[in-house]
């Protein structure tokens, strides 16, 4: 699915993307969160990376309309989403010092393929391929289960980062209100692979094995044979075999395996986890004001769009250029018809054009995934309001 991408085409393609493809109404619907909290969208920080690497923070918008007008004008190469603040971020300089505070933000996780470089042989750095993409599949399955079943979160948006990993946006009310300490605690609970360059054995298990670890192991075990033995071929060369052997207890040859080191009896599980278990950056998850790449933002180095991932299908990627190319083809036919209708109403025309445009591209199915996610949140909010009004005996 790789097509040649040239970053030089960004200045031409991006405006088209923002004018005709970016799903503004869904985006606004998401960040507004049903309008339950006053000014929730207005107080949200966005940051843009513009042409020539100019970085601007504390961007904020008052309406969907403003967003739709500004983005094609500013043509951001990258869009990041930050926290919902106590005041409009664009006015943070005029607010009394000390009172401008980050109040809420989604709980986020960032899984980056480069963090696995010590255990994958097919690619390194920013490259990814179908062989190592399985790692993302494993990460998503493990974390999604834990966030839902252990922590009780319901509204998770998994997004392809555009280059070499995935992000998870946990959008529940409770998640958005979490403190720094709580975010750090969740991230630590989910961390099993610890240590940097100088640590050889990065996973240490001892009795009793927590149910969370058992759940995670059953996911890893499902994929391990195909992923590690076949695709990554970890036993295929002396070098990689040595790496595996380095993780074994010294007295492996004496039978039965003694407990001479802590939890020595779980070395097989430890090895599987070290090769496959998700590696999180706790710092990304900790900060309430941390800025993370926005869904539907373009990755300037790859031309790929950060699209929501349908958990039922974890294997496709998309190129920005691809979408725009698809777009050019049908244009000619419908051009006349469109122009006539456009005379009637400028805004409606723009809206109609946009809906039609992305639906003609492979972006459509990703917007559908996003729609489903938004629907679920809306239903849940309605349920909450009914519960509340029942309690207050409103009829």
């Amino acid at each position: 699915i790789e097509t040649y991408y040239d970053p030089a085409c960004l200045p031409d393609l991006l405006p088209i993307y923002y004018r005709r493809l970016f799903p503004f109404s869904q985006y606004y619907r998401w960040l507004r969160y049903g309008g339950v909290s006053k000014n929730y969208f207005q107080n949200r920080e966005f940051s843009f990376t513009l042409k020539y690497d100019i970085y601007v923070r504390y961007q904020s918008f008052t309406t969907q309309n403003e967003l739709e007008k500004e983005m094609p004008k500013m043509v951001p190469y990258k869009i990041d989403i930050g926290a919902v603040y106590s005041h409009r971020p664009s006015q943070h300089n005029v607010v009394k010092s000390g009172t401008f505070q980050a109040l809420e933000k989604e709980l986020v996780f960032d899984i980056d393929m480069t963090d696995y470089d010590d255990v994958r042989r097919c690619c390194s750095a920013a490259d990814i391929c179908s062989k190592c993409w399985t790692l993302m599949t494993i990460a998503i399955r493990i974390l999604d289960r834990a966030l839902r079943e252990d922590f009780g979160f319901h509204h998770l948006l998994w997004v392809y980062s555009g280059r070499r990993g995935v992000h998870c946006w946990v959008c529940d009310d409770a998640a958005r209100k979490l403190s720094v300490a709580a975010r750090a605690a969740v991230a630590e609970y989910l961390s099993l692979v610890k240590g940097g360059e100088e640590t050889v054995r990065k996973v240490v298990l001892s009795d009793p094995i927590h149910p969370f670890i058992n759940h995670s192991l059953s996911v890893v075990e499902r994929y391990f044979q195909q992923y590690a033995i076949v695709d990554q071929d970890i036993l295929g060369s002396k070098e990689s075999v040595d790496k595996v052997l380095a993780l074994l207890p010294e007295d492996i040859l004496s039978f039965p395996v003694s407990n001479s080191r802590k939890g020595g009896q779980y070395f097989d599980k430890e090895i599987m986890l070290q090769y496959c278990y998700p590696r999180l950056d706790v710092n990304v998850s900790k900060g309430v004001n941390h800025l993370l790449k926005s869904p539907f933002s373009v990755h300037p180095k790859t031309g790929r769009i950060s699209v929501p991932i349908d958990l039922k299908e974890l294997n496709t990627l998309i190129l920005l250029s691809l979408i725009c190319e698809e777009l050019e083809r049908p244009r000619a036919d419908e051009a006349e018809e469109d122009d006539m209708k456009d005379q009637e109403n400028e805004q409606e025309a723009g809206e109609r054009r946009r809906i039609r445009d992305y639906k003609r591209t492979s972006l459509a199915k990703y917007v559908k995934v996003f729609d489903r996610f938004l629907e679920a949140m809306a239903r849940s909010r309605k349920g909450e309001m009914l519960k509340k009004s029942d309690l207050q005996k409103d009829f």
Binding site: E149, L178, A184, E188, Y189, H210, P211, F212
Partner: protein, 489 residues
């Protein structure tokens, strides 16, 4: 119980309800009037208790027998409530009032708040764990800590998972004792370390771990309360009677102040170089070395070192000679010394200006006030030196590598005085210093005692003979207290 009942009738105000429990959450401030003497005494005694909590917590494990013994002893001797004994009303009242007074003193800076919260939490944890299971439950109810208990059926279903998640939990324990269900946000310490079972956003806490949850609550409340106290502090500080007491407390040193030198004139200037290597604490050794090398010290260093020298027994004349001879070797000529620096030396001895006889700085004062900047040599090396530099210095002074590691560990845990105590133990080749380090001059005295062993034993024999002659004499009692380093002002 009858005794308390009668008291209830006698006193009969709502305060009594506050004091019918051994342990409290300090939710409501005391509303009575107390004398200034009681104000100060209560505060100082609680401070002593908290310092013991800190010292004992680092030197013994927090769940060890030694910890229990030492803390029990200190709580009893300072008259604080203890394991719900009888006639505890006065002790509980003191507990209540002293806590709130210390809030005033310790709310002002981040460092002070952190220290206070840490010690109060450790004390609370200790006292809570001493309660009987039933009293623990009573405490939870009394303080409206509504932790939901898990039904017997749910417990049965989750038994294996619970056992696999919580340390020290057996099947019988799950069946016999309550398991609590709290939102995971209220059990972050257990979540972070994955020491608890999570399901649908709830943490399942076995009874014996409930203290962690309660502590979390305690910390949150105290933290908020301190922030609020800090805001209303200006009003309190404007009261002239309280202001000196409060500022004294937060830098409080509750021991001998070495203002009265016992060994005046017993030290000669020639001995100082040798003494600096043998009996000076690291901060003073450092200052002395810097003075010898640079023939100069800035004001902060002159104060800290100069007062220390006064404390070990230097006379004013000796001090003047000492400083002049050193400064003159540098860029200062004798005239300039007499004009500029001699004045400040005499000032230290109370012979100028206000004529206050300044007291040598305690460790607390050295650690907390006036941090050194570039070109300064004062302060506490354990607190103010970069760990790498500290390590090098200790290596130069021939401290063993394992000893250096122990010291660095203590420094990492911010236990600076204990690190210095460890330095004492290593340089004097003893396992236990035998005292709790609070003051540089104390370090010197103890060191001299150890090195001149014989003479002191004889002194002690004399003392015990004397006290046998007059067992109840105030003089012998004071000697005993002095030996323990506790001032009986």
């Amino acid at each position: 119980m009858q005794f308390l009942g009668r008291r209830k009738k006698l006193i009969g105000n709502f305060q009594n309800d506050l004091y019918d429990q051994c342990l409290q959450f300090y939710g409501q401030p005391p509303l009575e009037n107390i004398s200034l003497t009681e104000f100060e005494t209560f505060a100082v005694e609680r401070l002593k208790l908290l310092k013991t909590v800190e010292n004992v917590g680092v030197s013994c494990g927090k769940s060890s027998e030694q910890y229990t013994k030492k803390l029990d002893a200190e709580i009893s001797s300072l008259n604080f409530p203890h394991r719900g004994g009888i006639s505890e009303y006065e002790k509980r009242r003191k507990d209540h009032i002293s806590h709130f007074i210390l809030r005033l003193a310790y709310c002002q800076t981040e460092d002070l708040r952190r220290w206070f919260i840490q010690q109060e939490m450790d004390l609370f944890r200790y006292r809570f764990n001493c309660l009987h299971s039933k009293h623990k439950t009573d405490f939870l109810h009394k303080n409206n800590l509504k932790y939901e208990t898990v039904s017997a059926e749910e417990k049965k279903n989750l038994k294996d998972k619970l056992i696999a998640s919580s340390y020290g939990l057996s099947g019988t324990k799950v069946e016999e004792h309550d398991v609590y269900k709290v939102p995971f946000q209220d059990a972050l310490d257990l979540v972070r370390t994955r020491k608890v079972y999570l399901l649908a956003g709830n943490a399942y806490i076995p009874h014996h771990e409930i203290v962690t949850i309660v502590l979390n609550d305690f910390r949150t409340r105290l933290s908020k309360a301190l922030a609020m106290t800090a805001r209303s502090l200006p009003a309190v500080q404007s009261d002239e009677r309280l202001q000196p007491l409060l500022s004294h407390l937060s830098h409080a040193y509750v021991g001998q102040d070495y203002s009265i030198q016992k060994n005046i004139g017993k030290i000669s200037l020639e001995q100082i170089d040798a003494l600096s290597g043998k009996s000076f604490p690291l901060c003073m050794r450092h200052l002395h070395k810097a003075l010898r090398e640079n023939h100069h010290l800035r004001h902060g260093g002159r104060m800290q070192y100069g007062l220390f020298l006064k404390g070990i027994g230097l006379t004013l004349e000796q001090a003047l000679q000492f400083w002049r001879s050193e400064f003159v070797k540098g860029k200062v000529d004798a005239d300039k010394f007499d004009k500029a620096y001699a004045y400040s030396v005499r000032h230290m001895f109370g012979k100028e200006g206000k004529r206050t006889d300044y007291t040598p700085y305690s460790c607390m004062k050295v650690i907390l006030s006036n941090p050194p900047s570039q070109g300064d040599y004062h302060g506490c090396p354990f607190r103010h030196s970069d760990p790498e530099l500290l390590k090098q210095k200790l290596q130069n002074y021939k401290v063993s590598p394992s000893g250096i590691n122990q010291i660095l560990e203590l420094v990492k845990g911010m236990h600076y005085q204990l690190a210095c105590q460890k330095y004492f133990e290593l340089t004097h080749n003893v396992e236990d210093a035998g005292f709790s380090l609070n003051h540089p001059n104390q370090y010197f005295t103890e060191s001299q005692k150890l090195l001149n062993g014989g003479r002191d034993i004889k002194k002690e024999v004399d003392m015990s003979q004397r006290s046998q002659e007059n067992p109840a004499s105030l003089w012998s009692l004071k000697m005993e207290l002095d030996r323990q380093g506790i001032s009986a002002k």
